[in-house]
């Protein structure tokens, strides 16, 4: 699961992670926020029509995530694949908070969502984010929080909105124990860090599973200890 604010480079990173994981021998599926078969058009249309408030936004996003969970993510996990998700419910929690929805309500709403095994957070400050967005696809209406009428122009609004969004994501990072990566660094460096974390996690999981099987057969009494040892070793 890769989280991070708008324009921080999540999709670029995921595009590069996919072939790498495949070469490493894993089956990979990627899934994107607000891109479910059921809701993609509805969400795009509603955004274009400026009809949404915090609650309807969240409900559509929740329906989008539920659709992808039930029709894509869970079947892929059951088949033993690695699922790379570009954003997850944390995006909705952060945006809801800024739009003034009750945080307890949003958390309960997303109560159906699976907890990801690993949340990699591409953390960036506002000053580093701005040039990146300007060089990229530019500032969009929603990513600038224009719906909240925060600033006198789009640039001003973008600054105010993204500052709040980054602040919310940073506190969610603590609450939900994200693994934070410095996203200011060049793309290749960030990619290297992502691979390190993902590789370590997958190896430890594999070893834990293997050792589980081996130890339960040969030395059942020491199984949990062995697993711990292997995980620590993998973490080094």
């Amino acid at each position: 699961m890769i989280e991070g604010t708008d324009g921080v480079g999540r999709s670029t990173q995921i595009e590069q992670l996919k072939p790498w994981l495949e070469v490493e021998g894993y089956g990979v599926v990627s899934t994107r926020w607000a891109r479910s078969e059921l809701l993609q058009e509805t969400i795009d249309e509603a955004k274009a029509g400026h009809r949404l408030n915090a609650s309807t936004f969240s409900l559509l996003y929740a329906a989008d995530l539920a659709d992808r969970l039930e029709n894509e993510i869970i079947p892929a996990l059951q088949a033993g694949l690695v699922v790379l998700a570009d954003r997850y419910m944390y995006t909705a929690l952060a945006r809801d908070r800024i739009m003034g929805a009750d945080p307890a309500w949003s958390r309960d709403l997303f109560g159906f969502a699976l907890v990801p095994d690993l949340v990699l957070y591409l953390k960036i400050g506002l000053d580093a984010l701005i040039p990146r967005v300007l060089e990229g696809k530019g500032m969009s209406y929603w990513e600038s929080g224009m719906h909240l009428a925060l600033g006198k122009d789009i640039f001003d609004s973008f600054r105010k909105y993204q500052r709040r969004l980054i602040h919310e994501l940073n506190s969610l990072a603590v609450e939900f124990n994200f693994t934070s990566l410095d996203a200011k660094r060049p793309i290749e460096v960030v990619q290297g860090h992502l691979r390190e974390h993902i590789g370590r996690f997958l190896r430890s999981r594999k070893k834990a599973q293997q050792s589980d099987i081996v130890t339960t057969v040969e030395q059942p009494s020491e199984s949990s200890e062995t697993v711990d040892a292997l995980v620590t070793q993998a973490a080094k």
Binding site: E41, A46, S55, T56, L59, L109
Partner: protein, 248 residues
């Protein structure tokens, strides 16, 4: 979640009807709507699953069989909150009478019958104001089945709960699914204090009872927005949704 159980504070009045398909609730609410209009009240009418926001997604989901109980529930909630924002709350704030054909109790009964967690649905709908009057039209399954099939050829896929795989025979599936809903409606009725009306009774008799209850609710109200001296033309004209009158 207190909002679901406590009276709202808006100057307007919220009156809702509930019941399974073919219970006659839509007939009763359209008769009520005309009567209130004739009495000079300004009435706003809203109907379950009618907002443009999620119509496309629901249609697509039904056609391609993508819907699961969770997404089905969430899409209806999005429809509801959209109508709440634009159709229900403003008239209530403006002192009008709002009539709703189906309300949150439909979700509490239907979604739960599909296997969604009862507490979760209540939480999702927790921003909804409690109606001043919630009427539940109770009918036996056979009566509702007969009424629906006298109006059209076939049962609809979701209305018969065919998505749940209860039976390959639509009528049998309808009976099982709607019986489940009936049972849940009964417990929702006591939890939220819905007023039960015998939906198999004579139409005029039912309407008499409905008007009596509505009069009682309006008696306690402050000044409600009225049209000029009993004119039958409310300023805010709701979209026509009277097709079920003919069914009666």
């Amino acid at each position: 979640m207190t909002g679901l159980y406590e009276p709202h504070r808006y100057p307007g009045k919220l009156i809702v009807v509930e019941g399974i398909d073919g219970s006659g609730k839509s007939t009763q609410i359209s008769l009520l709507r005309r009567w209130l209009g004739a009495e000079g009240y300004r009435v706003f009418f809203t109907q379950w699953n009618s907002s443009a926001l999620v119509q496309r997604a629901i249609r697509r989901g039904k056609k391609k069989d993508l819907l699961t109980p969770t997404t089905f529930s969430l899409l209806h909630a999005a429809d509801f909150v959209d109508r709440l924002t634009y159709q229900v709350l403003p008239p209530l704030q403006g002192g009008m009478i709002v009539l709703a054909d189906r309300y949150i109790y439909t979700a509490f009964a239907r979604d739960v019958a599909r296997g969604v967690h009862p507490q979760w649905v209540r939480r999702v709908y927790s921003t909804a104001p409690r109606p001043d009057l919630a009427l539940y039209f109770r009918v036996p399954i056979e009566v509702s089945l007969e009424r629906i099939l006298s109006g059209r050829q076939k049962l609809k896929y979701h209305e018969a709960g065919m998505d749940l795989g209860l039976s390959s025979d639509p009528a049998e599936s309808f009976r099982r699914f709607q019986s489940k809903i009936l049972t849940i409606y009964d417990s929702v009725t006591s939890e939220f204090g819905l007023r039960v009306i015998d939906g198999s009774a004579d139409i005029d008799e039912q309407q008499g009872l409905v008007r009596k209850m509505v009069r009682h609710v309006l008696r306690g109200a402050g000044p409600l927005t009225r049209t000029d001296a009993g004119s039958e033309q409310p300023l805010l004209r709701p979209r026509p949704a009277l097709q079920e009158v003919g069914q009666a």
